[in-house]
């Protein structure tokens, strides 16, 4: 490793350490006005009253602050629940908003300084490490040492990284009140972009985008000379920064609902939720466009583009989850399980989630048109279950937290309902396939090893069979790592696409059907 890379790595780790310490800095002091500013009108009177003992009191940690807040809040709600006075119970969670308002810290006072020494330092450190990679080496993919690396082969470093990511996601989804300092840190950026204060989701969006950009640059280094990989990576970087990050913020700036125009139901599972529908329907022409565009993508965009190009047009060229998997997750792609067992589990799970998403959406729409009557309760239950189990736990905690443990496409492979939908089209009605090159396969196993979706590519290649699989996201890495030029991603005529009884050419003695 070159000196500059060592320095880069040190800066990266230091930035990450500072990022991890920031939530613990400063103190917390709640004032009456903050409650008045933050809380919905209907809850103001009650909360102003029950939080009275906290006013003006300085807490030296967010743990103490949140704990006290929870005490008062839960005491109030608890009594009502005991009395079964469900209508009076406050279901809204104000912990994050009130903790954020109460935060008093240097981070809040000097956000750019802390942003600089944490997130931006990490970005710079990572780039210092990445730019010299493979310098003075001829073009070509170098997977040297991956299975000797603790980070990339489920060693101690990999497990630590996975644990850190899992913890981060748990805090982000369920305990954001402990990361208010971090949110303050990016507040000025959010104000600048959309004119609104930052939430934990803005912080997450910013970090997500930076991760894709920085690790996208790593992809350019690693797959230097491979045009398919370079273009694909540039594409996910573009879609992340524009469609997923900037355009939604601009929508908000224009007083329109936050909207990611490339996100498609059922991955965008809340698309038909009543608040989203209201948001779109009440936002004039742009809102109407959001709704119509969203529906066009579902009913025409997905089948048509998948017919012509396979699901790769979305999964490895456009999608945000795919974008993170293909950049941040690339060093872990080899960790996916290739066993037949895993494939069986995958098919039940991913199609199970699709069925769940469809049922939930059907109930939601029925509820919408039946005027929120009978189905109201069922809809709410389904929404909260899906949001918790699929939207947060699966897509986030497991989806990304498990990169270093189960590979970078755990969510896409086992959980993403849109991937399931795209996959059904790809399997049964598409021009896309991975073609194998006659008898050239030597069964070495590079293709299977580096398939992030856990497809046993070799099983097909060594019998001369085209690879037509629902799960293939068309990342093209199998073809890129093949040492004998056996695999080629192609869009071609449907005729001959599925060859169940392939013949390996080269032996004129007999015709062996495999």
């Amino acid at each position: 490793m070159k000196n500059i890379q060592i320095i880069g790595l040190a800066i990266f780790v230091l930035g990450l350490a500072i990022f991890s310490i920031i939530p613990f800095l400063g103190s917390y002091q709640l004032e009456k006005e903050m409650v008045a500013d933050t809380v919905k009108e209907e809850h103001q009177e009650i909360l102003l009253d029950i939080l009275q003992p906290m006013y003006g009191k300085t807490y030296f940690s967010n743990f103490a602050f949140v704990s006290d807040y929870r005490n008062y809040f839960d005491q109030f709600n608890g009594e009502l629940k005991e009395k079964e006075a469900w209508d009076e119970v406050i279901w809204d969670d104000y912990a994050f908003a009130l903790t954020k308002a109460s935060t008093k810290s240097e981070v809040k006072n000097q956000p750019f300084l802390f942003l600089g020494i944490s997130i931006f330092a990490s970005v710079i450190g990572a780039l210092l490490y990445i730019f010299p990679l493979y310098r003075h080496q001829p073009e070509g993919i170098k997977n040297d040492g991956i299975y000797h690396s603790s980070m990339k082969s489920r060693g101690v470093l990999g497990i630590i990284t996975g644990t850190y990511l899992i913890l981060f996601y748990i805090i982000l989804y369920w305990f954001p009140e402990y990361m208010t300092n971090l949110v303050w840190m990016v507040d000025p950026i959010s104000m600048g972009l959309s004119g609104n204060p930052a939430t934990q989701w803005f912080l997450y969006g910013l970090m997500y985008t930076l991760a894709i950009l920085v690790m996208g640059i790593r992809m350019f280094r690693k797959y230097r000379g491979n045009k398919y990989q370079t273009l694909r990576t540039a594409s996910v970087m573009f879609f992340q920064i524009s469609f997923a990050f900037l355009i939604p913020e601009i929508m908000v700036l224009l007083n329109k609902p936050w909207h990611d125009f490339k996100n498609i139901w059922p991955l965008d599972y809340s698309f038909f939720y009543d608040y989203r529908m209201e948001g779109m329907l009440s936002s004039g022409a742009i809102g109407m466009f959001m709704l119509v565009w969203g529906i066009i993508l579902i009913v025409i965009g997905v089948p048509l583009l998948t017919y012509f190009y396979g699901k790769r047009w979305y999964c490895s060229w456009v999608c945000g989850c795919g974008g993170l998997a293909e950049t941040l997750g690339d060093p872990y792609r080899q960790l996916s399980d290739k066993s037949l067992k895993a494939w069986q589990v995958e098919r039940y799970m991913v199609h199970g989630v699709l069925v769940l998403a469809v049922v939930m959406t059907a109930v939601t729409i029925a509820n919408y048109f039946s005027g929120f009557g009978l189905l109201g309760n069922a809809t709410n239950q389904l929404h909260s279950f899906y949001g918790f189990a699929i939207g947060s736990a699966f897509a986030g905690v497991i989806g990304t937290g498990f990169y270093p443990l189960m590979g970078n496409r755990v969510w896409c492979r086992f959980g993403c309902p849109l991937a399931a939908y795209l996959g059904i089209v790809q399997r049964f009605k598409s021009r896309f396939r991975i073609t194998t090159n006659g008898g050239q396969c030597i069964s070495c196993g590079n293709c299977s090893t580096y398939c992030e979706m856990g497809i046993d590519v070799r099983w097909y290649a060594q019998r001369g069979q085209n690879i037509v699989r629902a799960s293939c996201v068309g990342c093209g890495v199998c073809a890129a790592v093949c040492p004998r030029g056996v695999l080629k991603l192609e869009n071609g005529p449907e005729k001959g696409r599925v060859n169940d009884l392939p013949i390996i050419i080269g032996n004129d003695s007999i015709t062996v059907k495999n």
């Binding site: 001829p138 073009e139 070509g140 170098k142 997977n143 040297d144 040492g145 991956i146 299975y147 000797h148 690396s149 082969s153 491979n226 045009k227 398919y228 273009l231 066993s339 037949l340 073609t435 090159n437 006659g438 008898g439 050239q440 030597i442 069964s443 070495c444 196993g445 590079n446 299977s448 090893t449 070799r458 099983w459 060594q462 093209g476 073809a479 890129a480 790592v481 040492p483 004998r484 030029g485 080629k488 991603l489 192609e490 390996i504 050419i505 080269g506 032996n507 004129d508 003695s509 007999i510 062996v512």
Partner: protein, 458 residues
């Protein structure tokens, strides 16, 4: 010859077929027999590993691209599911009289049909010092494990022998930042297979990877450090090159030592006809270890030591053991390799040198890492074969055009269809055809004009 298929081999139901060797030849044979014969009892014996793995992938284990598990083409449940019994032990000898396989440490195993697919072993030429610690070849899983220990923490290595395993070993060692000196006896790398331009491209690429390539250099002696370990090599130029490891990669030969003192007819390999039949009834040989009495085709050798031929031997013998026997008849030759970052594919017949009966067309990309050669008959312009470097070509396309004896002009005209490169790659077939026109005075790069001209000429 084998008009009566009953004479060919034992065809009783429940016959016991024992295969020695679990490489590509033996395993392909076993799999294919099972597809055609549901009742035979099939046992595969290997001392090397329990399960079949891809020998060609050994280098990737060393380089950390894969673990050993990843090199197994079939999951472990596959064997039991297909009732292919596996036995991991070394064979001591075969008692052909009693039809018994004798092991080092187990009861003899009786067979009705014996398939010998024992592969190769590393060549050694009797150099002084070749038995020292730190000196080895690379063929088996055991060799790989040995190499792992012998190269731990070393700084300098010497590789002797400019062939495919030599360059692989160089790549392996370079991946761990070991300084490599590569001694090649010939004028140029692999020049008994590659024509000069191709060979030179690989010479340049080897040097680009910071390997000290010494052409025209032979090993004289490996020097002892006094404790039984190699400390340097002495070349035929009188130079001493210090090193901690010496890779001897001067080719392989059939692994038949345990069969030599028997009634089985052998020469370099196990002698067999083109049905893989040896001199002993119900004993067959396939893969690297077989030596045909007569080469299977004019452009083929009597011993074929390639992955693909091993597979074809296995397929063909399986057919013969289950059906009316057919002669082994390989089709158009093909092969491939990867030299560091440059992929190589060949189809048909492209020798390193040719006489005036043949004409050659060679094109190389200005950056010197993509090359294409086509050899054809001078008079008739019928294509004989192609070499491709840094360029993926379709096997099906060239299998067809060589079989159908296409005219070279027509091949170049349709070269776009042979492209097997990934999408968005630079399309070199246009440059190739332009160059071809320039050299041959043809007009194949612009078929439209060609077509118009033809109409006008009519």
């Amino acid at each position: 010859m084998h008009s009566n298929s009953q004479d060919f081999c034992n065809r009783n139901p429940n016959r016991r077929i024992v295969i020695i060797g679990n490489g590509i030849a033996g395993v392909t044979c076993a799999r294919q027999i099972r597809k055609m014969d549901n009742s035979a009892r099939i046992t595969i014996i290997s001392g090397e590993t329990k399960h079949f793995f891809s020998r060609t992938a050994l280098m990737y284990i060393y380089m950390g691209h894969m673990k050993y598990e990843h090199t197994k083409p079939y999951e472990d449940f596959f064997w039991e599911k297909n009732r292919l019994e596996l036995k991991q032990t070394w064979v001591k000898k075969v008692d052909f009289e009693a039809k018994n396989v004798i092991f080092e440490d187990d009861e003899p195993l009786n067979y009705d049909i014996l398939v010998l697919a024992t592969g190769s072993k590393n060549n050694k030429y009797g150099w002084p010092g070749q038995e020292l610690a730190g000196v080895q070849g690379l063929y088996s899983k055991q060799d790989l494990d040995l190499m792992e220990t012998q190269t731990k923490g070393i700084k300098k290595a010497v590789i002797v022998g400019g062939g495919l395993i030599g360059i692989e070993m160089a790549e392996m060692l370079r991946s761990r930042n070991v300084e490599v000196t590569f001694l090649v006896r010939e004028n140029s790398f692999w020049d008994h297979v590659l024509p000069p331009e191709e060979s030179d491209m690989i010479n340049r690429h080897i040097r680009e990877h910071h390997i000290d390539l010494r052409l025209n250099t032979e090993l004289k002696e490996i020097l002892d450090d006094g404790q039984g370990r190699a400390k340097a090599v002495l070349t035929n130029h009188g130079e001493t090159i210090p090193c901690e490891f010496v890779g001897l990669t001067i080719g392989v030969s059939p692994n038949i030592d345990f069969l030599i003192d028997s009634t089985l007819a052998t020469k370099k390999g196990i002698l067999a006809d083109l049905y893989f039949k040896t001199n002993i009834p119900n004993v067959f040989a396939i893969g690297d270890c077989v030596e045909f009495h007569k080469a299977p085709a004019s452009d083929r050798k009597n011993i074929e030591q390639v992955w693909y031929t091993g597979r074809m031997h296995g397929e063909t013998l399986a057919h013969n053991l289950c059906n009316e026997p057919v002669k082994y008849q390989p089709g158009v030759w093909f092969n491939s390799a990867k030299f560091f970052d440059i992929e190589y594919q060949t189809y048909g017949w492209v020798p390193p040198l040719w006489d005036s009966d043949f004409n050659s067309f060679y094109w190389e990309h200005p950056e010197g890492k993509i090359g294409f050669r086509m050899l054809f008959e001078s008079q008739s312009k019928i294509i004989k074969g192609v070499n491709a470097f840094g360029l993926r070509l379709s096997h099906a396309f060239f299998d067809q055009v060589i079989k159908e004896r296409w005219n070279a002009d027509k091949v170049i005209q349709h070269l776009g269809k042979a492209n097997f490169n990934a999408e968005f790659y630079e399309k070199v077939h246009k440059d190739i055809s332009k160059r071809y026109d320039l050299e041959m005075g043809t007009n194949v790069s612009n078929p439209k004009r060609n077509f118009l001209k033809r109409i006008m000429n009519k």
